[in-house]
Symmetry: D2
Subunit: 441 residues, 4 copies
Amino acid sequence: MTHLGLYALQHRGQESAGIAVSDGEDVVCHKGMGHVNEVFNADVLDKLHGEIAIGHTRYSTAGETDLRNAQPLTVSCQKGQVALAHNGNLVNAAVIRRELESRGDIFQTTSDTEVLLHFFARSKQTGVPESLADALDRVTGAYSLVALFRDSVYGIRDPRGFRPLVLGQLGDSWVLASETCAFDLINALYVREVEPGEMVILDRRGITSLRYSPPARTAQCVFEHVYFSRPDSLVFGRSVQESREQLGRRLAREHPVEADCVVGVPDSGVPAALGFADESGIPLKLGLIRNHYVGRTFIEPTQANRDLGVKLKLNPVRSLIAGKRVVLVDDSIIRGTTSRQIVRLVREAGAREVHVRISCPPTISPCFYGIDTPTRRELIAATHTIEEIRQYIEADTLGYLSLEGLREAAGDCDDRYCLACYTSKYPTAVQEPLLALRNRG
Amino acid sequence: MTHLGLYALQHRGQESAGIAVSDGEDVVCHKGMGHVNEVFNADVLDKLHGEIAIGHTRYSTAGETDLRNAQPLTVSCQKGQVALAHNGNLVNAAVIRRELESRGDIFQTTSDTEVLLHFFARSKQTGVPESLADALDRVTGAYSLVALFRDSVYGIRDPRGFRPLVLGQLGDSWVLASETCAFDLINALYVREVEPGEMVILDRRGITSLRYSPPARTAQCVFEHVYFSRPDSLVFGRSVQESREQLGRRLAREHPVEADCVVGVPDSGVPAALGFADESGIPLKLGLIRNHYVGRTFIEPTQANRDLGVKLKLNPVRSLIAGKRVVLVDDSIIRGTTSRQIVRLVREAGAREVHVRISCPPTISPCFYGIDTPTRRELIAATHTIEEIRQYIEADTLGYLSLEGLREAAGDCDDRYCLACYTSKYPTAVQEPLLALRNRG
Amino acid sequence: MTHLGLYALQHRGQESAGIAVSDGEDVVCHKGMGHVNEVFNADVLDKLHGEIAIGHTRYSTAGETDLRNAQPLTVSCQKGQVALAHNGNLVNAAVIRRELESRGDIFQTTSDTEVLLHFFARSKQTGVPESLADALDRVTGAYSLVALFRDSVYGIRDPRGFRPLVLGQLGDSWVLASETCAFDLINALYVREVEPGEMVILDRRGITSLRYSPPARTAQCVFEHVYFSRPDSLVFGRSVQESREQLGRRLAREHPVEADCVVGVPDSGVPAALGFADESGIPLKLGLIRNHYVGRTFIEPTQANRDLGVKLKLNPVRSLIAGKRVVLVDDSIIRGTTSRQIVRLVREAGAREVHVRISCPPTISPCFYGIDTPTRRELIAATHTIEEIRQYIEADTLGYLSLEGLREAAGDCDDRYCLACYTSKYPTAVQEPLLALRNRG
Amino acid sequence: MTHLGLYALQHRGQESAGIAVSDGEDVVCHKGMGHVNEVFNADVLDKLHGEIAIGHTRYSTAGETDLRNAQPLTVSCQKGQVALAHNGNLVNAAVIRRELESRGDIFQTTSDTEVLLHFFARSKQTGVPESLADALDRVTGAYSLVALFRDSVYGIRDPRGFRPLVLGQLGDSWVLASETCAFDLINALYVREVEPGEMVILDRRGITSLRYSPPARTAQCVFEHVYFSRPDSLVFGRSVQESREQLGRRLAREHPVEADCVVGVPDSGVPAALGFADESGIPLKLGLIRNHYVGRTFIEPTQANRDLGVKLKLNPVRSLIAGKRVVLVDDSIIRGTTSRQIVRLVREAGAREVHVRISCPPTISPCFYGIDTPTRRELIAATHTIEEIRQYIEADTLGYLSLEGLREAAGDCDDRYCLACYTSKYPTAVQEPLLALRNRG
């Protein structure tokens, strides 16, 4: 079941995968580099006995690409065995780690998650929930956590709720996942989100909910709706697909253009393109085809893969594009290099005009909460005007969605989203060492 | 280059892959079970030296799933070394093979392709083109072939032109491929199709074209346009994507329905859905999401995978579907089981009505020319009325495109398509042993 | 059982391994590059159902290092399915192959074994034994064969009996193997050798013996006793270990020397060293230690491995050797490079004198019957006097066993051995093309 | 170089292998389950840049069979990055670990080695040598350690010197290894042992020697000479091969017998057999042949392998044994099951009498210092008389070497060996929890 869930969440991380199970006595963990279907096979799954389990797919936002950093992290301490899987990124991990090291702690990974385990083990509290709360009190940043103990699973979401975490029910059992699409696959019913600042405990007695932190102003990652989540998921209680269509509709109203067809950049740009087409009355064309036998552009960790990949992944349909004025709808411009390659592809296929429309505002700041954006220096919109970007990507016109438009399309009536990548207003302090670390990256 | 081309053609076969190269002296071949990225790595490619090469991705329409049957087949004979890759299926291979065996030939594979090599080797002709023509004269059926010799590559298409084969140019070099999308990836220019009954010879002197067979009435596989080819390819000189949109438009005219949204079954049903939506005025919704981390349904060889896979691959977007009257557009109903599962998925996601529209006529006959359709007994439309099928798949209404509609949408002005799977009128004799063989399958 | 047998015979070939089984209906074969434990695992063995089977481990004496050449070769022909495994080497394969090719046959391997299958398939005889006899009549050279048909296993030994083939019994079943050590492992009883020119047929009715060829003068490979076979085997009806001890004894008598200790080059030189020590009264010391985590020197196919390996494999025991006059006993000097490296090793470990004794005569001619000796040009003894060899290998003295001594020690009372590698007197015509082929090698 | 060294030391551990290197900046580690040639390949080695390195081959004496426990263990702490490889076993690790856990430390492995890293990181000392000394002061037991820091390698041997650790020189560089055979392979010169209680520091300045612990009575593992070390090594300053021959000689004097031949159980029993033969005048015969394509009996961790393996590994030479009175010389009887199987093998090969001689005293106590002996309950000599053992293994007579004989043969003039497995007199306190742990095992 956990294994199937990881298949459904493969898009969230393709570098490594792992599952930890407990049979009530021992916590056993298997993890490896690669996709879920490479890490697990029948033999491996056979050895993972037990009634409770957690799993993780990872892509590296913090810590190097390395088997050591694959999750769940599994340790033994005075509070027993614990396996921990972490979605998000702590912003004070570097400082904390230095503190812990100066007190004599040793670190076997380079991931930010390991500090949590140190705090947990060292907590003076005796109960597991109290010790976890104690540990969480020491860290700042984004964390949706699942933790496996001998006889219980914990689900925890940070007080600002950066990353999603949902609770579902399957018969008498409770399940947790990053996105509801994992529930759909295993026929579990979506119940609700784990609330920001909430800790849920799943064990033989059922579910217990605790608030380990007072309410804070939420800061849910809007980029989950723009790009990261699967469109068939409910994220932060809202359909991702619907958000994307709305983004496209708003975009059509904000940046209308005379054109012959609307083409979305697959896969994530297509829903916004559909909204744009519907709103503008310009016909949608499936003018770019994606070769799905190659992985996802954004997510793979090395620079080399990023550049090499565009042609392998996208191919224009010349007959639909040739001689046409094309509106190209995409979800973001990061460095600008990929966008330029796509514009060129479309132009080489005969497009008369290429009008680029982006379904969010310019990305001007890196994310410190778990999305692998590059440093500010590399973000084209951090240092260039929109006109300069337009020239760089060789588009005839370029339009970004406004911040207001984004919030409205994502249903943000009450200012609950983190918009830092578009505004540079980080919802938490972002400590210098971490910024430095990122800038070195 | 050949390796990249195979990536672009991965959708045509996922069971095995192979490349043969010649350095002017020796023909060397590497092949293995699995996807292109599993079969080849830097080490393997380093060992494949040479200036000319052919490649192949295979899924088993004839012969067992077995490394022996992976292509290119490579043999040595009195006419030198030859590597042969075959797209399509010979219809008289079983009879011929028995004949050849009775004359004392031995067979090391169970594929139909091997008989061609026997005829070639045994030909009394001395030249390679003449010997190939001699061999081809003995076989009937579908074959688009590429053959690698020490210092030349041959491209051959059967007289009826069942399967595609295109010729392109890259700088001073000539290239051959099943679909133009392979040219796009390597920046080669599409020149023309290899004609039915034509043999092109690519060598140091350039290109030579021969007619090894008198013109026959062509019988190009319409299913390439309906489902099999990549939408960004030109196939038989026509854009696949455009055909699919037209299929959807015709379908909307032939089987109109009152509904709230049109949903295509990804990936192949989406273009027809777009055409349907556009023609009918009912809005298109991306209401089914495909998980691309799992392979393609139709193509994998065992029954087990087929049934297990639907939920892993498709997930409905509840928010778009709930309470709606949905038109579900797909490209075919084979056994009916997958269609039923999809209808159920959509209904469980809250659809009020589900109207299934199929962008081709009922599939009533197996293909003997290279598409892996099941036997007639397993084809639901061979033995059931449309109303029975509708009940079986649990749809509110069901509409198939007419044969006339299909031909028109695929641009068939001059009756050049093979429509046997919809009409049972096979363009060649289909010898009993083969039929028997298939029916046993 | 076959799988276990291959473990026992791993020393005969480490390049590839394969097993073919028949369940009475179909012959299924699995083979791969590498050692038996790499090629087979539980999954693979599970798929090899049936009651009769043959297996093979191969090292390349004829044909390239390539999966295509792995055995058993499995084909289908008018006489049904047949899998064939061949120990030995045909001397007229190249000529025959050219003949067969000129008649139109195709070859999918580069091994000499494939010609046999062509002759078999093409035989005008109708019965299997007759067709086999027909085929064997066409070839000359060394062949111990096992052939698997739907419901029978054949064991065949060439009329001169170059290579061993033994018959055993296990309960009601009959078994065949190259050496008796395979019988020991599966608790089968050794019955007798398959006779030169004999064909045994094992099927449901038991065993049938046929003579497919009139008796010829036998030419059993003496090198099986000197080096190739496992010492715990009976080969040609005689204990290998005993032969080796006798070789050492004779050697001590023929080439006595004053020394402090006798050291055998492991593994194959140790039994002769023991005989030498016993006969001479000089104490045996285990002064060279072999690291068994690396493979066998002689048998691996590339030049690079040969040179790199000596230090990885052999290490002197300084305390036993330092200051001593050492008799170093080995089974052959091929190129001289390895011997020189060993002499140096021993001298660097402090030996005062190094007296090399070889338990056979100088190797002056290549083998065409299945032992992978290099070409004549590379054989140091073919072109150098013994004194020159002594200088080259840097030994104080060097003594080879006499031909007479070899024959006597190997129990050759009636001139039944092939001694061609020591005498250049080949028991068969060795056709020019093959010699040429070898010399090109 | 480190990689080659691991090949030479493969016999010391076959479960996992690892290498850590430092390029002066970063410590990078690669490790995996399996033999050295499975864990490392050209690609992996290419990525391990640097000028200093340590390596390890592991078999599990403490901690489970698990990749987590593979060594070197690599951590980062306030004292920088450190990689640690440990030969031996701490006897107070379980107690200490509980203490550390109660203070809040977390453990990511189940190996005893991890506690050392915690103590090191937590030490109040600032220098690395002082911190290491501090850490070592807290642990008891057997440890020969190599530790890699950014710019130095440390070699440390526990005050009793249980396990070997030798220092060598290669050009201007210093090298450390468990046995001298690793030096031989890389052409390094043996300099001396690292002394018990000594810490050597190898860095750019050369070598520095420190005494971190006052001299204790040494307790060098005699079993290294009896069985564990490679015979071509110097261990504790003495040739292993020579020790084994002496063991055989003493054995012949202590337990003479009338017999026809002496047969050693390969590989480790052969040197003692040679000594026995030489001393007794009974001729040595290589009457048992080992198949080296299967691994080493004693060292593989699961029970299943142990029982299955004997026939795969050993085969008698019937012609040497049949009708003979055989003296079978082996290095130990652990559970008795293997010995019984070997006696039966020899008898089935026709031996008239089988006299077993063991080149050490009865093994009555488990080892807590790094040899993987089973629990006392499983040790046949712990609970049975010699006569009972003789009956169990079905020998005609059975003789063990005396303790006095062992010490003398191993050159123990000054009582410097640990003989606990034969005497139950452990040189250190062996804390209850550990004993309990072992007894649970």
